[in-house]
Protein backbone atom coordinates (compact mmCIF):
# COMPACT_ATOMS: atom_id res chain seq x y z
CA UNK A 1 0.00 0.00 0.00
CA UNK A 2 1.27 3.53 -0.75
CA UNK A 3 2.25 5.40 2.38
CA UNK A 4 0.77 8.86 3.01
CA UNK A 5 -1.40 10.57 5.60
CA UNK A 6 -4.69 8.65 5.52
CA UNK A 7 -7.66 10.50 4.11
CA UNK A 8 -9.89 8.22 6.15
CA UNK A 9 -8.99 5.92 9.00
CA UNK A 10 -11.07 3.58 11.14
CA UNK A 11 -9.98 1.66 14.23
CA UNK A 12 -11.94 -1.12 15.87
CA UNK A 13 -15.08 -0.05 14.07
CA UNK A 14 -18.16 -2.04 15.03
CA UNK A 15 -21.92 -1.83 14.74
CA UNK A 16 -24.76 -3.79 16.30
CA UNK A 17 -28.41 -3.71 15.29
CA UNK A 18 -30.25 -4.91 18.37
CA UNK A 19 -28.83 -8.34 19.26
CA UNK A 20 -27.20 -8.79 15.87
CA UNK A 21 -23.55 -7.76 15.43
CA UNK A 22 -22.93 -6.88 11.81
CA UNK A 23 -19.44 -5.49 12.19
CA UNK A 24 -17.17 -6.56 15.04
CA UNK A 25 -13.89 -4.78 14.60
CA UNK A 26 -12.78 -3.21 11.35
CA UNK A 27 -9.55 -1.29 10.88
CA UNK A 28 -8.96 0.72 7.75
CA UNK A 29 -6.60 3.39 6.46
CA UNK A 30 -7.44 4.93 3.08
CA UNK A 31 -4.65 7.00 1.56
CA UNK A 32 -4.69 9.22 -1.55
CA UNK A 33 -4.73 7.25 -4.77
CA UNK A 34 -5.81 4.05 -3.05
CA UNK A 35 -8.72 2.07 -4.53
CA UNK A 36 -9.93 -0.60 -2.12
CA UNK A 37 -12.27 -3.25 -3.43
CA UNK A 38 -14.54 -4.58 -0.69
CA UNK A 39 -15.97 -8.05 -1.20
CA UNK A 40 -18.06 -10.37 0.92
CA UNK A 41 -21.22 -12.38 1.06
CA UNK A 42 -24.65 -10.79 1.40
CA UNK A 43 -25.06 -9.62 4.98
CA UNK A 44 -21.32 -9.48 5.69
CA UNK A 45 -21.49 -5.78 6.56
CA UNK A 46 -20.19 -4.14 3.39
CA UNK A 47 -22.98 -1.59 3.12
CA UNK A 48 -22.97 -1.07 6.88
CA UNK A 49 -19.25 -0.27 6.72
CA UNK A 50 -19.78 2.33 4.01
CA UNK A 51 -22.71 3.90 5.89
CA UNK A 52 -20.62 4.09 9.07
CA UNK A 53 -17.74 5.74 7.23
CA UNK A 54 -20.16 8.20 5.58
CA UNK A 55 -21.60 9.19 8.95
CA UNK A 56 -25.09 7.83 8.25
CA UNK A 57 -24.75 5.37 11.12
CA UNK A 58 -23.13 5.86 14.49
CA UNK A 59 -20.61 3.16 15.41
CA UNK A 60 -21.41 1.00 18.40
CA UNK A 61 -17.68 1.07 19.12
CA UNK A 62 -14.51 2.20 17.41
CA UNK A 63 -13.41 5.47 15.93
CA UNK A 64 -13.28 7.15 12.54
CA UNK A 65 -10.89 9.88 11.55
CA UNK A 66 -11.09 12.14 8.52
CA UNK A 67 -7.86 13.84 7.57
CA UNK A 68 -6.41 12.98 10.95
CA UNK A 69 -9.29 14.52 12.91
CA UNK A 70 -12.04 12.59 14.74
CA UNK A 71 -15.14 12.33 12.58
CA UNK A 72 -18.63 12.43 13.94
CA UNK A 73 -21.91 12.67 12.05
CA UNK A 74 -22.66 15.87 13.98
CA UNK A 75 -19.80 17.68 12.21
CA UNK A 76 -21.28 19.15 9.01
CA UNK A 77 -18.03 20.54 7.58
CA UNK A 78 -16.30 17.15 7.72
CA UNK A 79 -19.00 15.60 5.54
CA UNK A 80 -17.87 17.84 2.68
CA UNK A 81 -14.88 15.53 2.21
CA UNK A 82 -17.03 12.44 1.58
CA UNK A 83 -19.25 11.26 -1.21
CA UNK A 84 -21.42 8.15 -0.99
CA UNK A 85 -23.04 6.30 -3.86
CA UNK A 86 -25.78 4.32 -2.16
CA UNK A 87 -28.13 1.57 -3.37
CA UNK A 88 -30.74 4.27 -3.88
CA UNK A 89 -30.49 7.54 -5.76
CA UNK A 90 -31.11 9.91 -2.79
CA UNK A 91 -33.14 12.07 -5.20
CA UNK A 92 -36.77 12.98 -5.81
CA UNK A 93 -38.76 11.30 -8.58
CA UNK A 94 -41.03 14.30 -9.18
CA UNK A 95 -38.17 16.74 -9.75
CA UNK A 96 -36.24 16.83 -13.01
CA UNK A 97 -32.68 15.54 -13.11
CA UNK A 98 -31.42 19.10 -13.33
CA UNK A 99 -33.55 20.25 -10.38
CA UNK A 100 -32.25 17.37 -8.29
CA UNK A 101 -28.62 18.17 -9.09
CA UNK A 102 -29.09 21.91 -8.55
CA UNK A 103 -30.62 21.13 -5.15
CA UNK A 104 -27.67 18.87 -4.30
CA UNK A 105 -25.23 21.58 -5.41
CA UNK A 106 -27.01 24.09 -3.15
CA UNK A 107 -26.86 21.69 -0.20
CA UNK A 108 -23.11 21.47 -0.70
CA UNK A 109 -22.84 25.25 -0.92
CA UNK A 110 -21.40 25.14 -4.43
CA UNK A 111 -21.20 28.40 -6.38
CA UNK A 112 -23.23 28.62 -9.60
CA UNK A 113 -25.25 25.47 -8.89
CA UNK A 114 -26.81 25.44 -12.37
CA UNK A 115 -23.40 25.33 -14.04
CA UNK A 116 -22.21 22.65 -11.63
CA UNK A 117 -25.32 20.58 -12.34
CA UNK A 118 -24.84 20.97 -16.09
CA UNK A 119 -21.23 19.81 -15.81
CA UNK A 120 -22.26 16.85 -13.68
CA UNK A 121 -24.89 15.77 -16.20
CA UNK A 122 -22.37 16.17 -19.00
CA UNK A 123 -19.90 14.03 -17.06
CA UNK A 124 -22.27 11.07 -16.87
CA UNK A 125 -23.64 11.48 -20.39
CA UNK A 126 -27.08 12.70 -19.36
CA UNK A 127 -26.91 16.30 -20.56
CA UNK A 128 -29.87 15.82 -22.89
CA UNK A 129 -32.03 14.40 -20.07
CA UNK A 130 -31.77 17.36 -17.71
CA UNK A 131 -35.43 18.35 -18.07
CA UNK A 132 -36.69 14.79 -17.67
CA UNK A 133 -38.51 13.87 -14.50
CA UNK A 134 -36.20 11.65 -12.46
CA UNK A 135 -38.89 9.00 -12.15
CA UNK A 136 -39.00 8.68 -15.93
CA UNK A 137 -35.33 7.67 -16.29
CA UNK A 138 -34.38 4.08 -16.99
CA UNK A 139 -32.59 2.07 -14.29
CA UNK A 140 -29.22 2.55 -15.94
CA UNK A 141 -29.74 6.29 -16.42
CA UNK A 142 -30.85 6.56 -12.82
CA UNK A 143 -27.61 4.93 -11.69
CA UNK A 144 -25.60 7.42 -13.73
CA UNK A 145 -27.69 10.25 -12.30
CA UNK A 146 -27.02 8.93 -8.79
CA UNK A 147 -23.27 8.94 -9.49
CA UNK A 148 -23.52 12.55 -10.67
CA UNK A 149 -25.39 13.51 -7.51
CA UNK A 150 -23.18 11.58 -5.10
CA UNK A 151 -19.97 13.24 -6.24
CA UNK A 152 -21.19 16.62 -7.45
CA UNK A 153 -19.00 18.34 -4.84
CA UNK A 154 -15.85 16.49 -5.98
CA UNK A 155 -14.92 15.03 -2.59
CA UNK A 156 -11.49 13.48 -1.99
CA UNK A 157 -13.07 10.33 -0.50
CA UNK A 158 -15.42 8.28 -2.63
CA UNK A 159 -17.53 5.52 -1.12
CA UNK A 160 -19.36 3.47 -3.74
CA UNK A 161 -21.84 0.69 -3.11
CA UNK A 162 -22.16 -1.47 -6.24
CA UNK A 163 -21.65 1.37 -8.73
CA UNK A 164 -22.01 -0.80 -11.83
CA UNK A 165 -25.55 -1.93 -11.08
CA UNK A 166 -27.73 -1.65 -14.21
CA UNK A 167 -25.01 0.03 -16.27
CA UNK A 168 -24.51 -0.99 -19.88
CA UNK A 169 -21.01 -1.79 -21.07
CA UNK A 170 -20.37 1.69 -22.42
CA UNK A 171 -21.55 3.40 -19.24
CA UNK A 172 -19.55 0.98 -17.09
CA UNK A 173 -16.40 1.82 -19.10
CA UNK A 174 -17.14 5.50 -18.58
CA UNK A 175 -17.51 5.04 -14.84
CA UNK A 176 -14.29 3.01 -14.66
CA UNK A 177 -12.45 5.73 -16.56
CA UNK A 178 -13.87 8.38 -14.26
CA UNK A 179 -12.85 6.42 -11.15
CA UNK A 180 -9.36 5.91 -12.56
CA UNK A 181 -9.09 9.64 -13.15
CA UNK A 182 -10.20 10.46 -9.63
CA UNK A 183 -7.67 8.01 -8.17
CA UNK A 184 -4.90 9.63 -10.26
CA UNK A 185 -6.00 13.01 -8.83
CA UNK A 186 -5.34 11.64 -5.34
CA UNK A 187 -8.81 10.61 -4.23
CA UNK A 188 -9.24 7.61 -1.98
CA UNK A 189 -11.89 5.16 -3.17
CA UNK A 190 -13.72 2.40 -1.31
CA UNK A 191 -15.78 0.31 -3.67
CA UNK A 192 -18.19 -2.49 -2.76
CA UNK A 193 -19.04 -4.86 -5.55
CA UNK A 194 -20.28 -8.36 -6.20
CA UNK A 195 -18.56 -8.27 -9.60
CA UNK A 196 -14.84 -7.85 -8.83
CA UNK A 197 -13.90 -8.53 -12.46
CA UNK A 198 -15.41 -5.16 -13.39
CA UNK A 199 -12.85 -3.20 -11.38
CA UNK A 200 -10.07 -5.67 -10.65
CA UNK A 201 -7.44 -3.81 -12.68
CA UNK A 202 -8.46 -0.48 -11.15
CA UNK A 203 -8.09 -1.65 -7.54
CA UNK A 204 -4.89 -1.19 -5.55
CA UNK A 205 -6.10 -3.26 -2.61
CA UNK A 206 -8.76 -5.83 -1.87
CA UNK A 207 -10.60 -6.62 1.34
CA UNK A 208 -13.00 -9.44 2.16
CA UNK A 209 -15.45 -9.00 5.03
CA UNK A 210 -16.55 -12.14 6.84
CA UNK A 211 -17.71 -12.70 10.39
CA UNK A 212 -17.88 -8.96 11.01
CA UNK A 213 -14.23 -8.24 10.32
CA UNK A 214 -11.58 -8.49 7.60
CA UNK A 215 -10.88 -12.04 6.55
CA UNK A 216 -8.49 -10.67 3.93
CA UNK A 217 -7.08 -7.15 3.52
CA UNK A 218 -4.07 -6.89 1.25
CA UNK A 219 -2.64 -5.41 -1.91
CA UNK A 220 -4.55 -6.52 -4.95
CA UNK A 221 -3.18 -9.82 -6.28
CA UNK A 222 -2.11 -9.87 -9.91
CA UNK A 223 -5.08 -11.88 -11.16
CA UNK A 224 -8.62 -12.39 -9.97
CA UNK A 225 -8.43 -16.07 -10.89
CA UNK A 226 -5.54 -16.52 -8.51
CA UNK A 227 -7.43 -14.74 -5.75
CA UNK A 228 -10.82 -16.47 -6.03
CA UNK A 229 -9.90 -19.74 -4.22
CA UNK A 230 -8.70 -17.75 -1.17
CA UNK A 231 -11.83 -15.59 -1.37
CA UNK A 232 -14.06 -18.67 -1.31
CA UNK A 233 -12.14 -20.08 1.67
CA UNK A 234 -12.42 -16.77 3.50
CA UNK A 235 -16.18 -16.51 3.20
CA UNK A 236 -16.66 -20.16 4.09
CA UNK A 237 -15.06 -19.72 7.54
Amino acid sequence: MPSAEPLLAARGLGRRFGPSTVLRSVDLALVPGQVVLILGENGSGKTTLLRLLAGLLRPTHGTIQLGGKPFSSSDPAARRGLGLLSHQSLMYDELSLQENLVFAARLYGLKEPHLVAAAAMQGVGLAERGESRLGSLSRGMLQRAAIARAFIHRPPILLLDEPFTALDAGSADRVREWLSGRAREGCGILLVTHQPAEVWDLATDVGVLAGGTWAILESRPATLEGFLPRYRDAIRV
Partner: protein, 226 residues
Protein backbone atom coordinates in the same frame (compact mmCIF):
# COMPACT_ATOMS: atom_id res chain seq x y z
CA UNK B 1 -26.47 34.71 4.74
CA UNK B 2 -25.45 32.00 7.19
CA UNK B 3 -24.88 28.45 5.95
CA UNK B 4 -27.75 27.20 8.11
CA UNK B 5 -30.24 29.68 6.67
CA UNK B 6 -29.02 29.12 3.10
CA UNK B 7 -29.41 25.36 3.44
CA UNK B 8 -32.80 25.71 5.16
CA UNK B 9 -34.12 27.94 2.39
CA UNK B 10 -32.87 25.51 -0.29
CA UNK B 11 -34.58 22.65 1.53
CA UNK B 12 -37.84 24.55 2.02
CA UNK B 13 -37.75 25.64 -1.63
CA UNK B 14 -37.36 22.03 -2.72
CA UNK B 15 -40.31 20.91 -0.56
CA UNK B 16 -42.51 23.70 -1.86
CA UNK B 17 -41.58 22.95 -5.47
CA UNK B 18 -42.45 19.27 -4.95
CA UNK B 19 -45.73 20.06 -3.23
CA UNK B 20 -46.92 22.67 -5.73
CA UNK B 21 -46.05 20.33 -8.55
CA UNK B 22 -48.07 17.41 -7.19
CA UNK B 23 -50.49 19.41 -4.98
CA UNK B 24 -51.53 16.17 -3.31
CA UNK B 25 -50.79 17.24 0.27
CA UNK B 26 -52.44 20.65 0.11
CA UNK B 27 -55.50 19.44 -1.79
CA UNK B 28 -55.96 16.45 0.56
CA UNK B 29 -55.66 18.66 3.62
CA UNK B 30 -57.93 21.39 2.22
CA UNK B 31 -60.59 18.87 1.15
CA UNK B 32 -60.39 17.20 4.54
CA UNK B 33 -60.84 20.54 6.29
CA UNK B 34 -63.79 21.43 4.06
CA UNK B 35 -65.40 18.07 4.82
CA UNK B 36 -65.00 18.57 8.56
CA UNK B 37 -66.62 22.01 8.33
CA UNK B 38 -69.53 20.66 6.29
CA UNK B 39 -70.11 17.86 8.80
CA UNK B 40 -69.99 20.22 11.77
CA UNK B 41 -72.28 22.69 10.00
CA UNK B 42 -75.01 20.19 9.20
CA UNK B 43 -74.77 18.18 12.41
CA UNK B 44 -75.55 21.07 14.75
CA UNK B 45 -78.95 22.36 15.77
CA UNK B 46 -78.81 26.17 15.34
CA UNK B 47 -81.79 26.66 17.64
CA UNK B 48 -80.01 25.14 20.64
CA UNK B 49 -76.37 26.02 20.03
CA UNK B 50 -75.42 29.46 18.75
CA UNK B 51 -72.77 29.92 16.09
CA UNK B 52 -70.50 31.89 18.37
CA UNK B 53 -70.52 29.18 21.04
CA UNK B 54 -69.50 26.47 18.61
CA UNK B 55 -67.36 28.40 16.10
CA UNK B 56 -64.01 28.56 17.95
CA UNK B 57 -63.99 24.81 18.68
CA UNK B 58 -64.96 23.94 15.13
CA UNK B 59 -62.33 26.27 13.70
CA UNK B 60 -59.51 24.83 15.77
CA UNK B 61 -60.60 21.21 15.32
CA UNK B 62 -60.61 21.80 11.57
CA UNK B 63 -57.23 23.52 11.59
CA UNK B 64 -55.80 20.66 13.65
CA UNK B 65 -57.03 17.89 11.34
CA UNK B 66 -55.82 19.79 8.29
CA UNK B 67 -52.42 20.38 9.87
CA UNK B 68 -52.07 16.70 10.73
CA UNK B 69 -52.64 15.72 7.10
CA UNK B 70 -50.05 18.31 6.01
CA UNK B 71 -47.49 17.22 8.62
CA UNK B 72 -47.85 13.55 7.69
CA UNK B 73 -46.48 14.26 4.22
CA UNK B 74 -43.56 16.37 5.47
CA UNK B 75 -41.01 13.61 5.76
CA UNK B 76 -42.91 11.10 3.67
CA UNK B 77 -41.43 12.57 0.53
CA UNK B 78 -37.94 11.97 1.97
CA UNK B 79 -38.62 8.23 2.14
CA UNK B 80 -38.62 7.76 -1.60
CA UNK B 81 -35.21 6.76 -2.90
CA UNK B 82 -33.80 7.26 0.63
CA UNK B 83 -33.66 10.99 -0.12
CA UNK B 84 -33.35 11.76 3.58
CA UNK B 85 -29.92 10.10 3.53
CA UNK B 86 -28.98 12.70 0.95
CA UNK B 87 -29.88 15.46 3.41
CA UNK B 88 -27.96 13.75 6.23
CA UNK B 89 -24.88 13.28 4.02
CA UNK B 90 -24.76 16.95 3.06
CA UNK B 91 -22.47 19.33 5.00
CA UNK B 92 -25.44 21.05 6.63
CA UNK B 93 -26.36 21.08 10.29
CA UNK B 94 -29.31 19.10 11.60
CA UNK B 95 -30.77 22.44 12.67
CA UNK B 96 -30.77 23.52 9.02
CA UNK B 97 -32.81 20.43 8.09
CA UNK B 98 -35.23 21.18 10.92
CA UNK B 99 -35.54 24.83 9.94
CA UNK B 100 -36.07 24.01 6.25
CA UNK B 101 -38.78 21.47 7.03
CA UNK B 102 -40.37 23.85 9.53
CA UNK B 103 -40.54 26.68 6.99
CA UNK B 104 -42.08 24.43 4.34
CA UNK B 105 -44.59 22.97 6.83
CA UNK B 106 -45.59 26.44 7.99
CA UNK B 107 -46.36 27.42 4.40
CA UNK B 108 -48.38 24.24 3.79
CA UNK B 109 -50.39 24.48 6.97
CA UNK B 110 -50.95 28.22 6.44
CA UNK B 111 -52.31 27.50 2.96
CA UNK B 112 -54.70 24.92 4.41
CA UNK B 113 -55.79 27.46 7.02
CA UNK B 114 -56.20 30.13 4.33
CA UNK B 115 -58.62 27.81 2.48
CA UNK B 116 -60.37 26.78 5.70
CA UNK B 117 -61.03 30.26 7.12
CA UNK B 118 -63.29 31.57 4.29
CA UNK B 119 -65.24 28.29 4.36
CA UNK B 120 -65.59 28.66 8.11
CA UNK B 121 -66.94 32.21 7.69
CA UNK B 122 -69.35 30.97 5.02
CA UNK B 123 -70.71 27.96 6.93
CA UNK B 124 -70.90 29.51 10.36
CA UNK B 125 -71.97 32.99 9.25
CA UNK B 126 -69.42 34.57 11.56
CA UNK B 127 -68.58 38.24 11.12
CA UNK B 128 -64.78 38.47 11.40
CA UNK B 129 -64.42 41.99 10.01
CA UNK B 130 -63.40 43.47 13.36
CA UNK B 131 -61.72 40.36 14.68
CA UNK B 132 -59.73 39.33 11.62
CA UNK B 133 -56.34 40.77 12.72
CA UNK B 134 -56.79 39.05 16.08
CA UNK B 135 -57.75 35.75 14.47
CA UNK B 136 -54.72 35.94 12.21
CA UNK B 137 -52.40 36.62 15.16
CA UNK B 138 -53.83 33.74 17.19
CA UNK B 139 -53.61 31.45 14.16
CA UNK B 140 -50.01 32.44 13.53
CA UNK B 141 -48.93 31.85 17.13
CA UNK B 142 -50.74 28.52 17.49
CA UNK B 143 -49.62 27.26 14.08
CA UNK B 144 -45.96 28.01 14.79
CA UNK B 145 -46.25 26.03 18.03
CA UNK B 146 -47.82 22.83 16.78
CA UNK B 147 -45.99 22.83 13.44
CA UNK B 148 -42.71 23.35 15.28
CA UNK B 149 -43.31 20.28 17.43
CA UNK B 150 -45.04 18.38 14.62
CA UNK B 151 -41.96 18.70 12.42
CA UNK B 152 -39.86 16.83 14.99
CA UNK B 153 -42.41 14.08 15.44
CA UNK B 154 -42.98 13.62 11.72
CA UNK B 155 -39.20 13.07 11.35
CA UNK B 156 -39.34 10.60 14.22
CA UNK B 157 -42.11 8.43 12.81
CA UNK B 158 -41.10 8.45 9.15
CA UNK B 159 -39.05 5.27 9.54
CA UNK B 160 -41.76 3.40 11.47
CA UNK B 161 -44.25 1.09 9.84
CA UNK B 162 -47.35 2.91 11.04
CA UNK B 163 -46.24 6.50 10.57
CA UNK B 164 -49.72 7.86 9.75
CA UNK B 165 -51.04 6.36 12.99
CA UNK B 166 -48.04 7.18 15.18
CA UNK B 167 -47.84 10.87 14.31
CA UNK B 168 -51.23 11.92 15.74
CA UNK B 169 -50.75 9.66 18.76
CA UNK B 170 -47.36 11.19 19.62
CA UNK B 171 -48.27 14.74 18.66
CA UNK B 172 -51.61 15.02 20.43
CA UNK B 173 -50.31 15.71 23.97
CA UNK B 174 -48.10 18.49 22.62
CA UNK B 175 -50.85 20.03 20.51
CA UNK B 176 -53.31 20.28 23.40
CA UNK B 177 -51.71 23.32 25.11
CA UNK B 178 -51.54 25.58 22.03
CA UNK B 179 -55.00 24.41 20.96
CA UNK B 180 -56.44 25.27 24.36
CA UNK B 181 -54.73 28.66 24.23
CA UNK B 182 -55.93 29.30 20.67
CA UNK B 183 -59.51 28.17 21.35
CA UNK B 184 -59.77 30.24 24.57
CA UNK B 185 -58.36 33.36 22.88
CA UNK B 186 -60.61 32.88 19.82
CA UNK B 187 -63.74 32.44 21.98
CA UNK B 188 -63.08 35.69 23.82
CA UNK B 189 -62.15 37.56 20.65
CA UNK B 190 -65.30 36.48 18.80
CA UNK B 191 -67.41 37.37 21.85
CA UNK B 192 -66.13 40.92 21.55
CA UNK B 193 -64.23 40.84 24.84
CA UNK B 194 -61.42 43.40 25.36
CA UNK B 195 -57.79 42.49 24.65
CA UNK B 196 -57.02 42.34 28.36
CA UNK B 197 -59.37 39.33 28.62
CA UNK B 198 -57.28 37.17 26.35
CA UNK B 199 -53.84 38.79 26.29
CA UNK B 200 -52.72 36.17 28.78
CA UNK B 201 -53.57 33.40 26.30
CA UNK B 202 -51.59 35.21 23.60
CA UNK B 203 -48.61 35.41 25.92
CA UNK B 204 -49.04 31.71 26.71
CA UNK B 205 -48.94 30.89 22.99
CA UNK B 206 -45.87 33.05 22.43
CA UNK B 207 -44.00 31.42 25.33
CA UNK B 208 -45.04 27.95 24.14
CA UNK B 209 -43.64 28.77 20.70
CA UNK B 210 -40.37 30.05 22.09
CA UNK B 211 -39.81 27.10 24.42
CA UNK B 212 -40.84 24.32 22.07
CA UNK B 213 -39.22 25.69 18.94
CA UNK B 214 -35.94 25.92 20.85
CA UNK B 215 -36.30 22.43 22.31
CA UNK B 216 -37.31 20.98 18.94
CA UNK B 217 -34.27 22.46 17.21
CA UNK B 218 -32.02 21.14 19.98
CA UNK B 219 -33.34 17.55 19.97
CA UNK B 220 -33.81 17.19 16.21
CA UNK B 221 -30.36 15.63 15.73
CA UNK B 222 -31.31 12.78 18.06
CA UNK B 223 -34.36 12.03 15.94
CA UNK B 224 -32.56 11.92 12.60
CA UNK B 225 -29.27 10.25 13.53
CA UNK B 226 -29.13 6.43 13.60
Amino acid sequence: MSDTLRAALALAGKDLRLEFRSKTGIISAAMFAALVLIIFNFSRDPTTVSNLDLAPSVLWATFTFGAMVALNRAFHLERENAAFDGLRLAPISREAIYLGKLLANLVFVSLVEAVTLPLFILFFDVDLSGALPGILLITLLATIGFVGVGTVFSAMVVRTRFAELMLPVLLLPFMVPPLIGAAMATTRLLAGRPLSDFAGWLRFLAVYDLVFLTLSALVFWAVVDE
